[in-house]
C-alpha cells in the first residue's frame, strides 16, 4: 500500500482521493482492493466503478432483466468483499470481479433454468458479424436480430466466450483469467463458438453463404 494511503488510514484521515470520484480515477483497482481490506471507503469506490459494467455483462450473459441483474451484482460484491484477502494483486481486479460475477450468474441460471436472450450494441454486432462472414444478402436489422437469437441458442461454454470477447471486449488473457481456462483453450473455444454461431445463423437462413 503506498505511503499516502497508509498514512491516511492509520490516522483516520480522509483518503487522498476522497474528495470526489474524479480524483479516485488515478488510483488503480488493484491498489483500491488492497486498501479496501482496511477501509470500506476504498471498497465503495470499487463498487461504484464496476456495478454498472457487471450489471450490463450479466444482462448480456444470461439475458435477465435489470432487477435480477442487480441482485446478482449485489451478491457478487458481497462475495468479493468476503474474499477480498484472497485477491492476488498481480492479477487484474477486473478479471477477478468478472469471474465472481460470472460464477454468480451461472448459479442463478442453474436455479432458474433460464433461457437467455442477448443485448448487443450496433458496433459490437458489426465486429462480430464481419467475423462470421454473414453480412451479405440480408438486411442489417435482420442480421443483428439473428445474431442475437443465435447467441442465445449457443451452448453456455460458447456463449460465455462470445459475450466476453465481443460484447464485453475482453482480451484473451482477461477471458483466460475470468473463466480460469488456459489461453489456448479460450482461443479454441472462441473459434468453435464462431463456427457454431455461423451455422445457427445459416440454418435459419439457408440463402446465406
Amino acid at each position: 500500500m503506498d505511503a499516502a494511503l497508509a498514512r491516511a488510514m492509520n490516522h483516520g484521515e480522509p483518503l487522498p482521493f476522497i474528495n470526489g470520484a474524479e480524483s479516485a480515477d488515478f488510483i488503480t483497482d488493484e491498489r483500491l482492493a488492497v486498501a479496501a481490506l482496511e477501509d470500506d471507503r476504498a471498497y465503495e469506490f470499487l463498487v461504484e466503478r464496476y456495478e454498472k459494467k457487471l450489471q450490463r455483462y450479466i444482462m448480456r450473459f444470461i439475458g435477465c432483466g435489470m432487477e435480477d441483474a442487480r441482485d446478482i451484482v449485489q451478491e457478487s460484491f458481497v462475495n468479493a468483499y468476503r474474499n477480498l484477502a484472497g485477491f492476488d494483486p498481480d492479477l487484474k481486479f477486473s478479471a477477478w470481479i468478472y469471474r465472481i460475477a460470472h460464477n454468480e450468474a451461472v448459479s442463478h441460471v442453474r436455479r432458474l433454468a433460464a433461457r437467455p436472450t442477448v443485448v448487443m450494441e450496433d458496433e459490437q454486432f458489426e465486429s462480430l458479424a464481419s467475423e462470421l462472414n454473414v453480412e451479405r444478402d440480408i438486411s442489417r436489422a435482420m442480421e443483428a436480430e439473428h445474431i442475437r437469437r443465435a447467441i442465445g441458442r449457443l451452448d453456455s461454454k460458447y456463449r460465455d466466450v462470445i459475450v466476453l470477447r465481443y460484447l464485453e471486449e475482453k482480451t484473451y488473457e482477461e477471458i483466460s483469467d475470468i473463466l480460469r481456462k488456459p489461453r489456448g483453450s479460450v482461443s479454441s473455444l472462441i473459434s468453435r463458438a464462431k463456427e457454431h454461431l455461423a451455422e445457427l445463423i445459416r440454418a435459419d437462413h439457408p440463402t446465406i453463404h
Partner: protein, 141 residues
C-alpha cells in the same frame, strides 16, 4: 454514489459480512499444494510398485500376466488425476493446458518412482499389498 452502490454497502454491513482472513487463504493454498504433493508421492509409490512387479515378471515368465497388479495402475491413474485437480485449484494452475500438466505430473512421479524403486519402497508396497486384507478380499484366499 449511486443508489445501487449504496444498497450494496448497506447490505454488506447489515448482513455483518466480514473479510475472510489472509491466513484462511494461506492455509487453503497450503492444503491444496500439500494434497498435490501427496498425490504425486503416492503416484510415485504406485509406479515403483509396478516396477517391482514388472521386474519379477521379467525374472519369472508368466508371473507378469497372471499377477500384474491392475490395482497399482488404477492407483497411479487416480493419484495423477488428484494431483491434476489440485494443481488446477492453485492461483495459476488454470493457465496451462491439461495435457502438459498431466505429462509433467507423470514425469515427476515416474522419476520419483524410479528413486523409490531403487530404495526398495516399491517392493515394500507390493509386499504390504500382498499381505493386506484388501488383497484377500479382492483376489480371494
Amino acid at each position: 454514489m449511486s443508489e445501487t452502490s449504496r444498497k450494496i454497502i448497506e447490505e454488506i454491513h447489515e448482513r455483518g459480512v466480514k473479510h475472510r482472513s489472509r491466513r484462511y487463504f494461506l492455509i487453503r493454498n497450503a492444503c491444496v499444494w500439500a494434497a498435490f504433493g501427496a498425490a504425486v508421492v503416492l503416484g510415485a509409490v504406485s509406479i515403483s510398485a509396478e516396477e517391482a512387479v514388472i521386474e519379477r515378471g521379467i525374472l519369472m515368465p508368466g508371473f507378469l500376466f497372471r499377477d500384474l497388479s491392475f490395482l497399482w495402475i488404477a492407483a497411479t491413474v487416480l493419484f495423477v488425476a488428484l494431483a491434476f485437480l489440485n494443481l488446477r485449484l492453485t492461483t495459476e494452475g488454470y493457465r496451462y493446458r491439461a495435457a502438459w500438466i498431466v505429462l509433467g505430473i507423470l514425469l515427476v512421479a515416474a522419476m520419483l518412482g524410479l528413486l523409490f524403486h531403487h530404495e526398495g519402497i516399491g517392493d515394500h508396497a507390493e509386499a504390504a499389498f500382498e499381505h493386506s486384507s484388501f488383497q484377500h478380499f479382492w483376489f480371494g484366499p
